[in-house]
């Protein structure tokens, strides 16, 4: 077995095992990110969106920035006119490339047979299906390809004899890191991955690689700044529902069993899920037995990584890269938008793959060679079977949702997604049913309740709408969508005074929210509220939207027709609108406070 042959065989297996994916269409996030996203519908549109966040429209809050991935979608669309098979073909090619590159990387430590087994396990590992057979998984594939290329480039840089060659490899490595960063946020681990490889390389280079590290560090810092600048306050805005309302301690306690699940997925990838939301993952606020097991497993994995630095550096490499690649979504220090996603384990699969490759290499030259070959072939075949079996799950959106719902009926989030899917196709009754079940499965999530309430209102079921809205409001008050839906539900059930109180409190808590102010105005209209109060709300809406001249004109009219008295309870409601009056007409603010017989709290501007 030669090094080249090992590389080609692994890449070929990676290609063949995923050929079925070419029959898949758009599924899951493909619809939002690609098929319905104008930015991906031509190369020039994708290029024009280079400085745009990854998710379009209302999904912008997720705060991701992956312009190179978008560019590849745009290129694909231009080539194949939007035909999904071409997108899938590119994904398969990228998976094959990543597999081949992994083989090249581990050949530094392993003989060809060990590298081949590593490549084969990586190629057919069932956890990869989500990343490879679903087009939006491309970000994982791209970042893996560029990171592995960066590792190989950094090696060549360290080994280069001439200054010219060093400069070339420096530029090549930095370019690979840049493309990794622009492919997916996980590119930030590039410097650490290069350092791990450097520390574990069999023949330590004499020359320092400080220049390379400085260049990669500068690039990473620049990219982080750009990311934050483009995604703005959106970064980190996509907290997963499982963490909603949880303390940092509770989050860690929830995640500890997840770490155990991650290790299980890498070692025994037969029970899989496309969505790990409650109750597939259970929210825990204290240390449980399974949490303790998760903690012990995590410590054990790290210990194996540390202990194998000298004895089996390739194993240490695999484990450390797996830990590094999982770290950004580990929810330990920062909260991410996912609790667990199989696509995020794409690079982490390097760990079981190199362990298998290292084990195979150890026994290959011994008396148990045949047994080792049979064991390896068995694992690869089993994994390949599970992979091929799972690929059709991603054939289209409905198949994915329905089959996942059947496989994981305890998953509340799949039901929310299914409700959105069927609602968009006009089956509102089915949608409401799914949302109610979702709420029953995971009552802690207020957003499913908001959707259910809206759906119930649309279907003329105000009592149910109010019940769901109150559940959301009980969970969280400082969100415009919740205030709006509760206000509307109260109006619909004939309680305009309560609606007014809720909307005014919301307007006070969420100063300047157009959605809440609109709800406030509806509440006033429903209860035939005082005209002075409506004028104030309209002025506040103008003020919040920057229509300052219009706001000033409204206050002028109010100043001319100041009410003789205001009713009881107006004081609390005035707090929502006092900012605009204080800013534009301080005497009017004083007059209203006097009429309402209250001192309103100071407001910042």
């Amino acid at each position: 077995m030669t090094r080249g042959r090992a590389t080609w065989i692994a890449a070929a297996v990676a290609t063949v095992v995923y050929l079925l994916a070419l029959r898949n269409g758009w599924a899951g996030d493909d619809l939002v990110a690609i098929s319905d996203n104008p930015a991906t519908h031509s190369f020039s549109a994708a290029l024009g969106a280079w400085f745009e966040v990854y998710w379009p429209g209302e999904w912008r809050w997720a705060g991701l920035y992956r312009p190179f991935t978008i560019l590849t979608y745009g290129l694909d669309w231009s080539i194949a006119n939007g035909a999904p098979w071409w997108f899938h073909l590119v994904n398969v090619a990228l998976h094959a490339a990543a597999t081949a590159l992994l083989v090249r990387v581990v050949l530094a430590w392993l003989p060809a047979i060990g590298a081949l087994v590593t490549g084969l396990v990586f190629a057919v590992h069932p956890v990869h299906v989500e990343a490879v057979a679903n087009v939006v998984g491309r970000a994982e594939l791209l970042v893996a390809v560029w990171l592995l290329l960066a590792v190989l480039g950094a090696r060549r840089y360290r080994q280069a004899e001439s200054a010219g060659a060093r400069r070339w490899w420096l530029a090549a490595t930095v370019a690979a890191v840049a493309l990794a960063l622009w492919s997916k946020e996980h590119g930030v681990i590039a410097i650490a991955v290069i350092a791990v490889d450097h520390a574990l390389e069999p023949r330590r280079s004499r020359d320092s690689a400080t220049g390379l590290y400085l260049a990669v560090a500068a690039l990473t810092v620049a990219w982080l700044f750009l990311w934050r600048g483009i995604a703005g306050g959106l970064v980190g805005g996509g907290m997963h529902a499982a963490f909603f309302g949880l303390s940092s301690y509770g989050r860690v306690m929830t995640m500890l069993p997840v770490y155990l699940e991650v290790v299980r997925l890498l070692a025994w990838p037969f029970a899989l899920a496309s969505d790990y939301a409650p109750q597939v993952i259970q929210v825990r606020e204290s240390l449980t037995l399974v949490g303790t097991l998760g903690l012990l497993t995590t410590v054990a994995v790290l210990a194996v990584g540390a202990l194998s630095v000298r004895r089996a550096p390739v194993v240490a490499f695999g484990i450390l890269v797996a830990v590094l690649s999982y770290a950004p979504t580990a929810n330990l220090l920062v909260v991410s938008g996912v609790v667990l996603a199989e696509r995020n384990l794409y690079l982490a699969v390097i760990a079981p793959a190199v362990i298998a490759g290292w084990g195979a290499a150890r026994v290959w030259d011994g008396p148990r060679r045949r047994a080792a070959a049979v064991a390896c072939a068995g694992v690869v075949l089993l994994f390949a079977y599970r992979t091929v079996d799972r690929i059709p799950l991603w054939s289209d959106a409905l198949t994915l949702l329905v089959e996942e719902q059947a496989a994981h009926p305890e998953n509340f989030h799949i039901r929310v997604l299914l409700s959105e899917y069927v609602a968009a196709r006009g089956d509102s009754a089915w949608a409401l049913g799914e949302l109610l079940v979702a709420g029953a499965l995971f009552p802690a999530d207020p957003w499913a309740a908001v959707l259910a309430s809206r759906q119930a209102l649309a279907q003329g079921r105000p009592t149910l709408a109010l019940q769901e809205a109150e559940r959301a409001y009980g969970r969280y008050r400082r969100d415009a969508r919740i205030v709006e839906v509760l206000t509307d539900a109260l109006i619909a059930t004939g309680q305009p005074d309560s609606a007014l109180a809720v909307a005014a409190a919301g307007a006070r808590d969420l100063l300047g929210s157009e959605m809440v102010l609109a709800a406030y105005r509806r509440a006033l209209a429903a209860g035939a509220g005082a005209s002075w109060e409506a004028t104030l709300v309209d002025a506040t809406r103008d003020w919040s939207a920057g229509r300052v001249v219009s706001a000033a004109a409204r206050l002028d009219s109010l100043e001319r027709a100041l009410p003789a008295a205001v009713e009881l309870g107006a004081c609390a409601r005035l707090a929502a609108t006092v900012l605009v009056v204080r800013a534009l007409r301080p005497p009017l603010a004083a007059a209203l406070e006097a009429l309402a017989a209250c001192d309103l709290p100071p407001t910042g501007r």
């Binding site: 400085f51 400085l214 750009l226 229509r547 001249v549 000033a552």
Partner: protein, 498 residues
């Protein structure tokens, strides 16, 4: 760490640290809160949109003859890359931070020629480049970071061991580009050839001078062609520097010999102390800097011979923003370190003043630096100025027609964020070193000539109140308030007084 520094990566590490700090120092303030930054970006917009080097925000977009074109050209290239303002400001911020990091790298690389030990010089330079006034500068869109990088590059090449024709061309190009970034870069066009000449590199001196003049010449030709195209009432902010100096007169220039331009340095470094002590400390500080400069003079002659005319120009120039001096902080820190180390070797009479100076600097600059960095005070002014402008521009955008011509105290800012044609509300001229307003009548006449329809001020106070009161006194309908915010901005409809 010391090993890494001495093995040649020290300058790159300094550059990376400064780059990172400069990125951290960026603010969310609007572009134009410090006036000049808005003009730079408005010029960049004009270039990016193919309108030429003109003041796009002014009526009839006259040619720009006040601010040199290189920094706006850099911003214009970025604008072309990402034409969505203000979202694209993040790119401007990134490039400014990179320029400051590059400047720090080059200065640190150049400082290797001095005999100052690596750790001391890199520490001093890092402190100098990340001093809070510099962080304020890099946090808004000023040309100083780019200018500093080009100036440092020019002197670094000129101070090199072998200055052949290639390096002479390189230093000339860099000096010329520095002059295209800030007019005061002419100090490099003068100082570098002199330094090369004194080192006996006469041909290189000639080449460097010729190339620098060649690079800067288009800008001077542009000034010669368009210098008179600016309304004389706007000469202070939009005219050429020759017009500016002409307003000040010889007396205005010579009055600078009281060295008030150096005061910001001393105020920055030395805490408030009783006058005799303060003076004594100041003298010691200047003496240490001078000793340091003399100590390193033989190794970095071009640097010294550029800084002398630079400080001379700043001293004589009738209006000197402090920021002209802040960018010298890294070199001042280097000189102070070299001087302190030299004096330390002189026995007790050198060590005592250096020790006292170290304590005073720690209590003065050190404490202010810590507080400024801890609370991000270096960004307070920009952020505070930004708030009323945010409201004002929203009001102008939604409350005036697109054809409106708006007179404002931040005309470039208002133009950038609203797209309206704008003019300055306050008109000044120099008299000696004093700024004098033109008065309400002249201002009103200018606004009428320009067809101003609205007046927008970010703050109803200061210079605005007497001017607006005078407008109101000239007729009931001259200024009709559209909105006025208590202690904040105001927007008026303007009609010419009859």
């Amino acid at each position: 760490m010391t090993r890494v520094l001495t093995r040649g990566h020290g300058p790159a590490i300094v550059g990376l640290v400064v780059f990172t700090v400069a990125l951290w120092a960026q603010t969310g303030a609007m572009v134009g809160v410090f006036y000049d930054d808005g003009i730079y970006v408005a010029l960049a917009k004009a270039l990016a949109e193919g309108r030429g080097f003109v003041s796009l925000h002014l009526p009839e977009a006259p040619p720009a003859v006040h601010y040199p074109p290189l920094y706006p050209m850099v911003l214009a290239a970025l604008w072309r890359l990402w034409p969505q303002f203000p979202a694209n400001v993040v790119l401007f911020q990134l490039v400014d931070a990179a320029a400051l990091g590059a400047a720090a790298w080059i200065i640190a690389h150049h400082a290797r020629r001095t005999a100052v030990p690596p750790l001391a010089r890199y520490l001093a330079l890092t402190i100098g480049v990340t001093a809070f006034p510099v962080l304020t500068l890099v946090g808004v869109r000023f040309s100083e970071p780019l200018f500093l990088a080009l100036l440092a590059g020019a002197v670094c090449v000129a101070d090199g061991e072998e200055v052949g024709p290639g390096k002479a061309v390189a230093t000339g190009v860099l000096a010329g580009l520095a002059t295209l970034t800030r007019s005061i870069g002419i100090a490099a066009i003068v100082g570098i050839p002199v330094a090369l000449w004194l080192r006996g590199r006469r041909r290189a001196a000639g080449v460097a001078l010729g190339v620098a003049l060649l690079v800067a010449a288009p800008w001077w030709l542009w000034l010669a062609a368009h210098g008179d195209s600016v309304n004389p009432l706007l000469a202070t902010n939009y005219g050429t520097y020759a017009q500016y100096a002409g307003q000040a007169g010889l007396a205005g220039l010579l009055a600078g010999l009281d060295f008030t331009s150096l005061q910001p340095f001393v105020r920055l470094l030395v805490p408030a102390l009783p006058t005799p002590i303060w003076l004594a400390v100041t003298v010691v500080l200047l003496a240490v800097v001078v000793v340091g400069a003399v100590t390193v003079a033989r190794r970095v002659p071009a640097l010294l011979l550029v800084l002398v005319p630079y400080v001379g120009l700043v001293t004589l120039w009738p209006f000197t923003p402090d920021r002209f001096m802040w960018i010298l902080l890294p070199w001042m820190a280097l000189f102070a370190t070299a001087g302190s180390l030299r004096a330390w070797r002189w026995n007790w009479w050198g060590r005592v003043p250096v020790g006292v100076l170290a304590v005073v600097l720690a209590l003065g600059f050190g404490w202010r630096q810590i507080v400024s960095v801890k609370d991000r005070q270096f960004a307070v002014t920009a952020n505070r100025t930004s708030r009323p402008f945010a409201l004002l521009t929203a009001g102008v955008r939604t409350g005036t027609p697109e054809t409106a011509i708006v007179a404002s105290d931040g005309e470039a800012l208002v133009h950038l964020y609203t797209g309206r044609t704008t003019v300055p509300l306050f008109l000044f001229r120099l008299n000696g070193r004093q700024m004098l307003g033109f008065g309400a009548d002249t201002t009103a006449q200018y606004l009428c000539e320009q067809g101003v329809s609205h007046v927008a001020v970010s703050w109803l106070g200061g210079e605005a109140l007497p001017l607006l009161d005078a407008f109101k006194a000239s007729g009931d309908s001259v200024l009709v308030p559209l909105f006025t915010v208590a202690d904040g901005p105001a927007l008026y409809r303007f009609r010419c007084p009859q």
